[in-house]
């Protein structure tokens, strides 16, 4: 039965608004419980005034979204979206972070060469020739571009 409920589950605008409402509520509770939110500045406004005000406003907008005419619609991009695929998004962000760490350790040329050639090889038709030639062209182009602007950075 549980799997049936899950297979019928749809990310309608109402569901999205309830998720957001919960996040904003947690943030509001967090803000209320923090010491900093009670500290008053010399103009008489507490540090928590603006965060609390906007969180309450956001929650009102979420309620509006949950009850308006589009509430039962599923956003087009979510209709056939497989949430298991979100793992690829996270992996790609970690690969970006990995490239950045390599950039700091190995410098622009080696790290960019590795990042570009491997990405183009795996995303493209799988030809090393295409991947290496394209990588070299891009690296020369980007280096010339940043050198012309004289960007002061330790990665070049």
């Amino acid at each position: 039965m549980g799997s049936k409920i899950f297979s019928n589950f749809k990310f309608t605008n109402k569901v999205i608004s309830i998720i957001l409402l919960s996040i904003f509520l947690i943030l509001l509770i967090y803000t209320y419980n923090m010491d900093w939110s009670q500290k008053t500045a010399r103009d008489g406004i507490t540090a928590g005034f603006f965060p609390k005000a906007i969180l309450i406003l956001s929650m009102i907008f979420c309620i509006g979204m949950a009850v308006n005419t589009y509430s039962n619609e599923v956003p087009e991009s979510l209709e056939e979206f497989d949430f298991k695929n979100l793992i690829y998004v996270v992996i790609s962000l970690f690969i970006c972070w990995g490239y950045f760490l390599l950039l700091l350790e190995l410098g622009f040329f080696i790290s960019s060469f590795l990042f570009l050639s491997l990405s183009i090889y795996f995303l493209g038709p799988g030809s090393w020739k295409v991947s290496l030639i394209t990588t070299l062209i891009i690296i020369v182009f980007v280096y010339t571009f940043f050198s012309l602007i004289q960007v002061p950075s330790n990665i070049f």
Binding site: S17, A47, P51, S58, N68, Y88, I138
Partner: protein, 491 residues
Amino acid sequence: MGVFVGVTVGALPGLAISTGMALMLPLTYYMNTGPALALLIGVYKGATFGGSISAITFSTPGIPAAAATVYDGYKMMKRGEGRKALQMALYASVTGDTLSDIITIVLATTLAVVALKFGPTERFLVMFMAFILIGTLSGKNIFKGLISGSIGVLLALIGSDPVSLVPRLTFNLWWLRDGIPIIPMIIGLFAVSKMIEELFDIIERKRKNEEIEKQDLSIIKSLFSKASAKLTWKEYIGCWREMLIGTTVGSIAGMLPGVGSSGGAFLSYGVAKQFSPNKENIGEGALEGIAAAESGNNATMGPTLIPLLVFGIPGSVGAALIGSALTFQGATPSPRMFELHPTIIYSLFVLLIIANAVNLFVGNIMIRFYSRLGQLPKYILIPFIIMLAIIGTYVVSNNRYDVIIMLVIALLGFLLNLAKFPTAPLVIAFILTPLIERTFRIAIQTSYYDYRVMFDSGLSKALLGITIILVIGITKLKDKSKKITGDLEEE
């Protein structure tokens, strides 16, 4: 260079104007004011025209604002009149843009004098109304726009309180005490999140073993053959009514925060379809349709800077990025901008006009090259853009935490795009928040902590009335234009 980069960005489906401008923004940090503004304005204007190239040649709008051009442009392309369609798009874009720039120069200087008479309470109200307008007019669902704007405000509130210096919403992370810097925010939201979406598309296709559809290149090869007809002067002048409609509607749409260039194009197209003498043929592959849509989207470019220069309110993502570049140069947009930085303002005006001439020149010379650019494979484009994004984020302050922030914002942007939340209100609200907070604090102090002053004055009631009228009027007009373009899509 800006126009060249801009048209390239526009001509490549999958890259938005904001992506191109976001990638160029870190570079302006190391430039003088003139070249920095020239670069961004060039990208801004170039990309708006560039979007029409792939819309006409491949029926794939390079940018959302060029979607209205597809209806007539692609039909002309199929009839073998692609060259004429591309030339009309270029000339209509430059015409609409130039005329709207003149409107911008005249109106901005006039309104700046009026804006100086506004006190902190009025300024706060104007900004608050702009926030509501941006939220309600961006996207299909009003509440999604407003929630997106609220997230932008929340992100802007992260960091130390400007008066008490107490850290707010930092979750005890010391590197958030200075708040979220604008460059990682913009690059994460508009460049990297967009690339993740494209990456996702490639991965999905690979998993399903789908072949990437190859475009028919023979049609492009014949595009510039001697046999293909050029646009004549008579045909160009014959579309004056549609260009005038595009310029007028686009300029008004540009001035209103939140409508944007897509809104400008569709509204102009919708109005032209109702009032043009050749209205029956618009949508069937008529030059008039291209003229209205292209002059309409380009005419929003200049006027979108009016609220920025007069009140410090960016009316669109492009204006927000130009505003950020101005802030890097020490000229934060505010009502006193004309008084404090007249040289920068007048350079900006001159650059707006020069960029149109460059757009015309580059467009004419390079149109053959640009029309093939839509063929550039995404598996090259994605790693290239991600590399530029990471380097661009890091080189501004050589701070590794900026890259972390950028990647987290990219994930947020991806999720928001997935749930169809417009991201423009988020970034505009993010930029507007410090200004709103400052004016609110001053207004409250000058009114001796009487909150009623904010909403009791005649001006506040008038502003509220104007906002409601604008929201209802534009939503109705948008619905009407959508109905017209929806019918065309069905056909």
